[in-house]
Symmetry: C2
Subunit: 587 residues, 2 copies
């Protein structure tokens, strides 16, 4: 039987390091369900995110564009109204794109107001949700922030009898200490303690069930369901039995060195002085966090098991692509840092496993793909699944489907690029960097990792001789290091100058049209000496360019006659198209 | 009396070379009215456009952004819906921005449709007109192209008794030869012949009168009137007395050399094979064109005299800034080229004269400013006139007002950048350049001009030793030339990587806020070990960051107590702002 892909389940975890899955090598944390997905699909060993920050990274996943292209450089920066997202690209192909969980999107209310778009209208709601139709949205990292004072999950908890003004905070983000006291799960010290909420009602199982609800209710229309977990992101707390399932000894060893800190790049040094970094360096803090973090990952894997079984039972496995990924990782104390916002592997290398039911993907099941792939490749992959024309003038990424089918795409990228804007961090204040210069960029070719920091020396790491990235060679005078820095510097320039904003006209349209012939046949006569000249040139044009505009055609025919004479009255010319520019809309 | 500027008359000519005004040194073509404006204001000796093509150049004027930023890389490329233009920036300041003449704007009908914007609505019309409210639009370069089958000017001509299906074409674009035959003015060979239309009814006088109409009708509201002439752009024909007012001997000498053509860069060589370039190289063609072109410029100057006198009579000179500029120049056969689309001085250096009635500008009247200024500086200048907050996160340019007031702005730019996308030209087809690589970029520091061409060697000119740009040093191995190429290459990289798409959050907002303190006070507790840690940190925050959200404040106060206890019921949190992000909208 030939299988074809109809739906896509697009699963994203928040802040999940690749090395915390057993299929990516974790020795103690077994994730058999995600590993099983990898056995049925392809595991990408070198998948990188476009930014080590939630908002920018997600916008790159959803738009197929680098941070440099879409402009969302940090979490509260709205994606400008008009930027096209997955939903915009897939909707015309008959696909319904829904959101279940978190997007970290900030809607461009100012842009909508300027464009006269009602935020409550269907289009307004989509603009505020990265182009998805919301099925269930729970951003959830700031349950008392006033962004969404009463999210769905709060209502759910209340219905289950977990009362209070803010049950998410009081049950899911609150833990019970050894003396029975309630402690806030936001405090790192208490990360190892069990959340008050029973497991089945905690965030990940709840969101997974909402995805099942969606699949039950979905009709025949093809869908992309973005199942977006808020975990294992902080607060790093999980209910029993996951709390306490792991001990600090099960954690990966801390990766850092005194020499690294002593010779740190100014931006790295300033970030090591961020509160979260200093706290992770305190005795006991990392141990408590690792216990919670590993439990959260294990919980996700168990829920994946439940979800995949549910899909199997309903026959969805035969026609639904499953993508498992993360928006970025977490330092967890490595490199003297907490949280994220630099370019070390624990943060920018993320899990990416894709199961494609299509028969053509049988060739690669259970294999590991070493290609350098990026978050921006996801949107082009989905477009490819639905037979959409590639949009290289809009999307920076490329479809991964050839890799899934065992083909080697031509001229695949040789570097991955990731970007981080530390304008919103204390490091910028400490370093007195103007916001325009706080945008860092990394180019990594699989061995050499180069980071360009405005106003400072660059960073350079050789992951072959130094896989843990403890020796920053950014100031090294070794000719090899100088040469690598220069090479990747130039590669970043090539990357930076690629045109990314000519989004309203496609490369395909340009390449398929002899624009100059069309211009003449549309009546704009550039560079003709006289009647004979025009007559001779027109004979060389391909018939497809001949004007069909009655007003123009007669004028051109008249102009190539021996003498100009009065034209005959002609009908009205056709109305200009109101859709995506086509050849007809050329001048 | 202290004078203050209330209105702006923003005059743009199409395809006018700086060196075709007497104030810029033309020895035979006297333009006393524009020269007079320069005597009352400031003449910018080194003003450059962002692209040697109408559409991209204009979009840079109207948005204050480079082509790299706004994406309109050629004439029929729509400016994407959502890009902010002058009108968008000035409207909230109470200023009415109107268009009188040409914009070369292509509306983004696809984007409008996606965003649910009715093209006939006020917002839709503005999107299709670069943010201007149309008062009179006559793009006029293709009167029989079907874009606008019956423009206003056609209707006007008909009312004056110049009949026919397409009077613009039959009267203004048609000439009478020595034998009384009607010839199309599109043919270069006939450019010296007089247009059939009487002078007073030709395009430039008509458009000037429409500007006077607007000024008569304008009420008290401050206005920016974009008076945008379609001339001296081709068809290069003008009515009597301007036709025949000049002879070929009055023209500037042709600038080209055999050596230049023999050693031409591949893109230059391919462009020299464009039809328009080959035609300009034919005997007699340039002579005919120069006669028409000079007549058209003289006609503009005479109309400027009428217009300035009209304004003087009505007292408008006391409160109206007058900007005179052009969207780009014209090769007119120089460098073996016709039309435009490379970066030689005749094309990218343009006239810029600014008269500012403000008393502070008295210090500079009649002076010539040598600073490197760009088309992107115009929108920031206008914003400055109306007291708007500078928007460096949106606009690439800077206000020119300090120069007008005799001040030297800090850290003024050291290079100008211009860009050209030849994707739509026959040169791309001949050279088989992929559209993504057909984007050329120039960096010019006033002496050295460097042009980066993807896939080919660069170009380099030394305007000190070679002011006519006849020696391309792009392949020279002279160490000085190598060094200059490397220096400007790196300068272009700095330019290319500048963030330009984070348009929804201002630098000012970022710099004025300690984001991390706000995040805590909004209830996102990143990196706190325990209650004591949070309590101690909160005491260090400035009072302005203290949460006023009743839900958050109580939770934070409770979380810094000795033990967590049940929270009291609290009121609803405030609704999120729906306007431009402010400090309150931070997470």
């Amino acid at each position: 039987m030939t299988r074809r892909t109809k739906n896509i389940l697009f699963i994203m975890c928040d802040q999940l390091r690749a090395d915390h899955l057993s299929c990516y090598g974790h020795p103690k944390l077994h994730t058999p369900n995600i590993d099983g997905l990898a056995r049925r699909g392809v595991l990408f060993e070198n998948a990188y995110v476009q930014s080590p920050v939630c908002g920018p990274s997600r916008m790159s996943y959803y738009t197929g564009r680098y941070m440099h292209s879409h402009g969302v450089s940090w979490n509260f920066v709205p994606l400008k109204a008009g930027e096209m997202t997955l939903g915009d690209h897939l909707r015309p192909l008959g696909v319904k794109s829904v959101l279940i969980g978190k997007t970290h999107m900030r809607g461009d209310s100012s842009g909508m107001s300027r464009l006269g778009i009602d935020p409550e209208s269907q289009i307004g709601v989509r603009i505020a949700e990265c182009g998805f139709d919301p099925y269930e949205r729970d951003d959830g990292i700031h349950p008392f922030s006033g962004h969404d004072p009463d999210p769905n999950y709060n209502r759910y908890l209340r219905e289950q009898g977990f009362g209070g003004d803010n049950p998410w905070e009081e049950w899911a983000n609150t833990v019970v200490d050894e003396d029975g006291n309630h402690r806030s799960g936001w405090y790192l010290k208490y990360s190892h303690l069990p959340a008050r909420v029973p497991n089945e009602h905690s965030e990940t199982p709840y969101t997974t069930r909402r995805a099942m609800d969606f699949m039950r209710e979905a009709g025949d229309q093809p869908w992309v369901a973005h199942l977006s977990f808020i975990k294992p992101h902080w607060p790093y707390v999980v209910p029993k039995p996951y709390a306490g399932m792991y001990s600090p000894e099960d954690a990966l060893p801390l990766v850092r060195s005194d020499e690294e800190l002593a010779n740190a790049h100014p931006v790295h040094a300033a970030m090591s002085r961020h509160r979260v970094s200093r706290r992770f360096a305190k005795p006991g803090v990392r141990d408590a966090v690792m216990v919670g973090y590993m439990g959260l990952v294990k919980q996700i894997d168990d829920e994946m098991g439940r979800l995949f079984a549910f899909m199997e039972e309903r026959g969805l496995t035969d026609n639904t692509m499953i993508v498992f990924c993360a928006d970025h990782g977490d330092f967890l104390g490595d490199h003297w840092l907490g949280d994220k916002e630099l370019f070390h592997q624990p943060v920018i290398r993320t899990p990416l496993v894709i199961y494609d039911p299509d028969s053509r993907a049988d060739a690669t099941r259970g294999t590991r793909c070493p290609a350098l792939v990026e978050a921006v490749d996801i949107a082009p992959t989905f477009l490819d699944v639905y037979g959409g024309t590639p949009l290289p003038h809009i999307m920076d990424g490329r479809s991964l489907r050839p890799w899934l089918f065992g083909q080697k795409p031509e001229a695949w990228r040789e570097i991955v690029v990731s970007e981080c804007d530390y304008a919103f961090q204390d490091a910028r204040i400490e370093l007195q960097t103007p916001p325009i210069d706080s945008w860092m960029r990394m180019a990594f070719d699989g061995r050499w990792k180069y980071v360009l920091c405005e106003g400072f020396r660059p960073m350079l790491f050789d992951l072959q001789s130094d896989p843990n990235e403890l020796k920053d060679l950014g100031a090294s005078t070794d000719p090899l290091h100088v040469q690598q820095r220069e090479r990747l510097h130039e590669a970043l320039f090539q990357w930076a100058r690629r045109p990314r904003q000519r989004v309203t006209v496609s490369d395909e349209l340009i390449e398929s049209t002899e624009v100059q012939a069309r211009i003449t046949e549309n009546g704009i006569l550039i560079g003709y000496v006289d009647e004979d000249d025009l007559r001779a040139q027109r004979q060389q044009f391909k018939p497809r360019y001949a004007s069909h505009n009655p007003l123009v055609k007669e004028a051109l025919d008249r102009l190539t006659g021996e003498h100009a004479s009065s034209p005959k009255p002609a009908g009205k010319s056709p109305v200009t198209s109101t859709t995506q520019p086509t050849e007809e809309s050329l001048p």
